[in-house]
Amino acid sequence: MLSDNQLLRYSRHIFLPEIDIQGQQALADARVLVLGAGGLGSPALMYLAAAGVGHLVVSDPDVVELSNLQRQIVHRQDSLDQLKADSARRHLLALNPDIEVDALPRALDDDELQQQAAAATVVVVGTDNFSSRHAANRACLSTGTPLVSAAAIAWEAQISTFDPRLADSPCFACLYPDSNEQALNCAETGVVSPLVGMLGSYQALEVIKLITGAGTPLIGRLQLFDARHGEWQTLRLKRNPECPACASFVASDTSRD
């Protein structure tokens, strides 16, 4: 039950008929796992905290470096050399003391990732490597947890949402098969700072839509953004029947029938 103070704090959500008090209560009851407290994770976490998501779990093994502060806005000058998960927790609680924030200052192994995904309402991934994205995908598939994935490099960005609760939803591996090939990352290529702000905020928006049931999340759609020319492209993505990651879950669903 939301308090009078919370009703005031979240009134601009509650005015929205798609959210209303029930949606705000759903946000308060939700637990969101955010993998990576970097450029994408920073705005995603800040908006989810401000929006009143009741329980945030932040996983990041790294410490804050000077080169992070150009875009990782949840961290401040006085966060330098601190663990990102701890720095993020401190600033999120300063933003909204109404919520709980768990800091996990480590890369989660498969078992812990599985446990955390199972406990989460939604998982957000904004890490800087491909293997952790595939690990998040596997954990979400096996626990039936929606996954909001975004990435940004240089002047380009991508975002999509995968929801294994839906039989026809593709998974991350339907889009990018798991491999040892290196994807582009910003440590080598650079990234324009507001771009991660846009996409991290977009991830938070997807989370709010998934939790409240408002609108249509990006399930089965991949959006590409070219920041240099301000162009968005939407591509439809179907479930790949031969996807090694999610095809087995189709089979197990069928076996239960």
Partner: protein
């Protein structure tokens, strides 16, 4: 002359064959600067044929996005019009005359 400049009925009336347009991740321009700022068109046909047509304009292009068996590298993806291509091995999907082929890469930056 391209299919994007004239309505399809005019192209049909004058028996002008439209050519698919190719749009690609700007990252590829680092390696193939001759393609930047160009309207890249290819003959209608299979994805494989389209990629080899790009290779004629930018030698080395197929080596960059295809592996040694001619399949799409795993960090590369293709879309035709508004749909992502599934056949990454034989690249048999057809790029229609008035279509757009998108070439993009996996990003992992966050």
């Amino acid at each position: 002359m391209s299919g994007q400049q004239f309505p399809a009925y005019l192209l049909r009336a004058f028996r002008v064959t439209a050519m698919p347009t190719v749009k690609m991740t700007p990252h590829l321009y680092r390696f193939f600067p001759q393609l930047e700022g160009q309207t890249v068109t290819v003959p209608a046909g299979s994805v494989k044929e389209a990629l080899h047509a790009i290779n004629e304009q930018a030698p080395g292009f197929t080596d960059y996005i295809l592996d040694d068996r001619g399949a799409l590298r795993r960090h590369v993806n293709l879309g035709i019009n508004d749909s992502i291509v599934f056949d990454r091995k034989t690249l048999s999907d057809r790029v229609p005359e008035d279509g757009t082929l998108y070439i993009f890469q996996a990003l992992s930056g966050g």
